[in-house]
């Protein structure tokens, strides 16, 4: 897969802007529970982990789907859905270990992250850089540069 959503949970402060951005982008509603990215809060340990569809090569959701709605896009490598064929049986939701299949109660179908067609809203909104979007090499390079800058300037 060319570009990936890369998450560094050590930078996540739990602000929830990613969830808000996703919900507003996809549903035009201010409602974090409609988001396809979620923050898992271990609040009594100060640990916050953004969780989103891992775009698995062999998705358990695709295997479980009772309408064969879910496939892999040969070009982008994303896990995609023929959403009109979804009957919201929730089998995919139950099968996914990352809680990546979300029930959209407004449209009554189950959805997963689709990288917002190449410009993920959550990445735009994230104030700490916990969410990044790019090829693994690109992102590692960004981290390397940021670290170098930090060392030079402090």
């Amino acid at each position: 897969m060319s570009k990936q959503l890369i998450i560094d949970s050590t930078k996540c402060t739990g602000c929830g802007l990613c969830q808000m951005a996703c919900a507003i982008k996809n549903n035009r509603q201010c409602e974090p529970s409609l988001a396809r990215i979620r923050i898992w809060r271990e609040e009594t340990r100060g640990i916050f982990i953004p969780m989103v569809c891992q775009q698995c090569e062999n998705p358990p959701c695709a295997a479980a789907c009772l309408m064969n709605v879910i496939t892999k896009d040969p070009v982008t490598g994303l896990t995609i859905r023929k959403i009109d064929a979804c009957i919201a049986c929730r089998a995919c939701q139950v099968a996914c270990p990352f809680e990546a299949s979300h029930y959209d109660y407004l449209r009554e179908v189950v959805v997963n992250c689709d990288h917002c067609e190449g410009s993920p809203a959550c990445v735009q909104y994230c104030p700490t850089g916990a969410l990044q979007y790019g090829s693994l090499n690109e992102v590692l390079d960004n981290c390397r540069q940021a670290e170098a800058l930090r060392r030079v300037c402090t």
């Binding site: 929830g16 509603q29 201010c30 409609l34 100060g46 104030p127």
Partner: protein, 636 residues
């Protein structure tokens, strides 16, 4: 999905006397006039709570008002205001807290929650996606707030909760309402009010969603606001070090509460509380809903006496209350914060009461027989023991639980040690060291002796110069900063004198109070980078984009001013006197850092402030004209 735009659209009233629920629809007029948050609270409480009632009686009303912008993309919009008649001051009691309670209550369908009456047996309230129910809290009563939250969060996964600990149950007068594990609606004793109603917790959980009126505009304004905040020179220091940024400067100014306001700064303050020491204990940052700053620190103590203690902490106000006010070590102040959270007590009042107790002990007015053990500044164990006693009203805790003023009145000449204004203990700032908008605000704050409602949006921590007989502080910034400040020119030119490089304390105080009150109505955070860069112009745009209600920046500020004046009327009706707006005698009589306050000069600044507000210059009573302009004449 609500039909309402921006607002959830309803206010929920819970009558504990007969376990009845009543839902009221919001009207556009009410929204325009009071906006939300503290605005809603003020109107509701003024109408429902008459002058003479006892704050701990069933007649008192407790209101949770979610800020209007909460639940939107607007940066830092997370705040909820809780208000009531205060058992500490007898005046309007109110407090503001962020995190996630507000967004859950709003998504559960309500912009405000009003709690009336009381039950005979302890209960907790559940508001779950529009459904409201009351449950027996027998198995929760007596448990500390962290234990209670563990149980409630298991029962209602994904919920947030406002709750009281043993201090609230025991009607400790300055008990707080906990907001989750690590935050609180702390000041003015709201926890005691909730305890007096036998209400242990309010559980909220919601996913109903809020529909913005204009999604594109809301997103655009939110990004603009975010860029403004991020471009403030106060942003980077706040992001990395949070509220603790004020700790060293105020120490240098000798303007800290040190050992119960007896010194301006402890001699070893820098050694024990400077940044490197604090950073040893902190691991990462935590944010409230929609916040881009994430000023809060995650603290873990990995060795020593309090090894294993971990929580979100290290805010300057409690750290100075315990660390400087009582002389505790840095680690012990974290422990004291933990206990305050678990027991549900306001850290500032607790620190203030204990500082006073130690001073009384040192003066020989109370002794080891009264307390049960020795007390001394810096004696961490004794102070923590005292905290336990206060939370559970044991021994001298029975007296101290009444707050500094009432406790001091039990002893001959005790009041000289009670550092309060209008019955509320003064937090970290010693105005003798620094007389500025921020410290002046302690006198005029509608909730009593507190510093959080009058901070100058363009406060300069580099200078500590007070000129022209207490009336001016140093501005210290350039033309660019002046131009960028979002204030109407007519007020700005009066508030700031570029030529003489001064800020007029009276005029800036009035503006700062209205601005902060506006933030507390809209649910936006008052941290320095936000207060500095966000003003009524962009907030009016955000408000209209979210709610669809058209409002100008002038009308927006006026609604905030309306709320402030209404609260003042409430306070006057509750018995506030002009003479109550004074500092403890000590500030006028004893020097700290070579300075003391001049009462006459301070009175003059107060008079100028009243004039700026359109209030009677002598009594501070809002004038007929002012009330008419604000359409508050029917309030009388």
């Amino acid at each position: 999905m609500s039909q309402s735009r921006g607002y959830a659209g309803q206010i929920l009233e819970v009558d504990l006397n007969n376990q009845a629920f009543h839902r009221t629809e919001l009207t556009p007029e009410f929204c325009q006039d009071y906006l939300g948050g503290i605005g809603f609270n003020a109107r509701i409480i003024y109408d429902a709570v008459p002058g003479g009632i006892d704050a701990l009686s069933p007649d008192n009303v407790l209101v949770f008002g979610v800020g209007t912008m909460v639940g939107s993309t607007f940066p830092t919009a997370s705040r909820t205001e809780v208000s009531s008649k205060s058992p500490m001051t007898g005046l309007f009691g109110t407090s503001n807290s962020g995190m996630f309670f507000g967004i859950q209550l709003k998504n559960a369908g309500f912009d405000a929650l009003v709690v009336k009456g009381r039950t005979d047996k302890p209960v907790y309230l559940v508001i779950d996606n529009g459904d409201v129910s009351i449950h027996d809290a027998g198995r929760l009563w007596g448990k500390d707030s962290w234990e209670t939250l563990d149980i409630l969060k298991k029962q209602y996964p994904g919920c947030e909760a406002a709750l009281i600990g043993p201090a609230g149950e025991n009607l400790v007068r300055f008990a707080c309402i906990e907001n989750g594990y690590y935050d609180a609606w702390a000041r003015t004793g709201l926890g005691a009010v909730m305890g007096s109603k036998n209400l242990k917790a309010i559980v909220v959980r919601g996913s109903l969603g809020i529909t913005p009126d204009n999604v594109e505009k809301l997103i655009e304004v939110s990004w603009r606001a975010r860029q403004l905040i991020e471009s403030s020179p106060f942003f980077a220091p706040f992001k990395s070090y949070g509220s603790m940024n004020a700790a060293m400067p105020y120490g240098n100014f000798k303007a800290l509460n040190a050992h119960n306001f007896s010194q301006g700064c402890l001699p070893d303050w820098k050694e024990n509380f400077a940044r490197p020491k604090v950073e040893e204990l902190t691991y990462g940052h935590v944010a409230c809903q929609s916040c881009i700053i994430a000023c809060a620190h995650w603290v873990e103590i990995k060795e020593g006496k309090y090894k294993g203690l971990r929580m979100k902490d290290m805010e300057v106000t409690p750290t100075t209350s315990f660390g400087s006010g009582c002389g505790m070590s840095l680690e012990a102040s974290v422990k004291a914060a933990e206990m305050s959270q678990r027991y549900g007590m306001d850290m500032v009042s607790a620190g203030g009461v204990m500082g006073m107790a130690i001073e009384l002990f040192n003066r020989g007015i109370i002794n080891a027989d009264d307390v049960g053990y020795e007390l001394a500044f810096g004696d961490d164990d004794a102070i923590l023991h005292l905290m336990e006693d206060i939370a559970h009203r044991r021994g001298i805790g029975q007296v101290l639980a009444e707050g500094a003023l009432r406790a001091a009145q039990q002893y001959k000449d005790g009041e000289a040690s009670a550092m309060h204004v209008k019955g509320l203990e003064i937090p970290m700032i010693d105005p003798r060291g620094r007389t500025s908008t921020w410290s002046f605000g302690i006198l005029t704050n509608i909730r009593g002796g507190d510093h959080l409602r009058c901070r100058n949006p363009i406060e300069n921590l580099r200078y500590n110069e007070n000129k022209h007989e207490f009336q001016k502080e140093r501005f210290g910034f350039d033309q660019k900063m002046y131009d960028a400040l979002d204030m109407p020119d007519s007020i700005k030119s009066q508030a700031i004198d570029l030529e003489n490089d001064t800020t007029d304390i009276a005029i800036m105080s009035r503006w700062a109070e209205d601005l902060i009150n506006l933030f507390n109505s809209l649910g936006v955070c008052i941290r320095p980078p936000v207060e500095h860069r966000i003003g009524p112009t962009i907030l009016a745009e955000a408000y209209t984009a979210f709610t669809g209600i058209k409002i100008t920046s002038t009308e927006l500020m006026q609604s905030s001013e309306r709320c402030w004046n209404l609260i003042k009327l409430f306070n006057l009706r509750a018995g506030e006197k002009p003479g109550d707006s004074k500092f403890p005698r000590r500030f006028y009589e004893q020097e700290v850092g070579g300075k003391k306050l001049d009462e006459t000069q301070l009175q003059e600044v107060l008079r100028q402030y009243y004039v700026a507000r359109g209030w009677d210059p002598l009594t501070g009573q809002p004038s007929g004209n002012t009330l008419r302009e604000l359409r508050l004449n029917s309030a009388e």
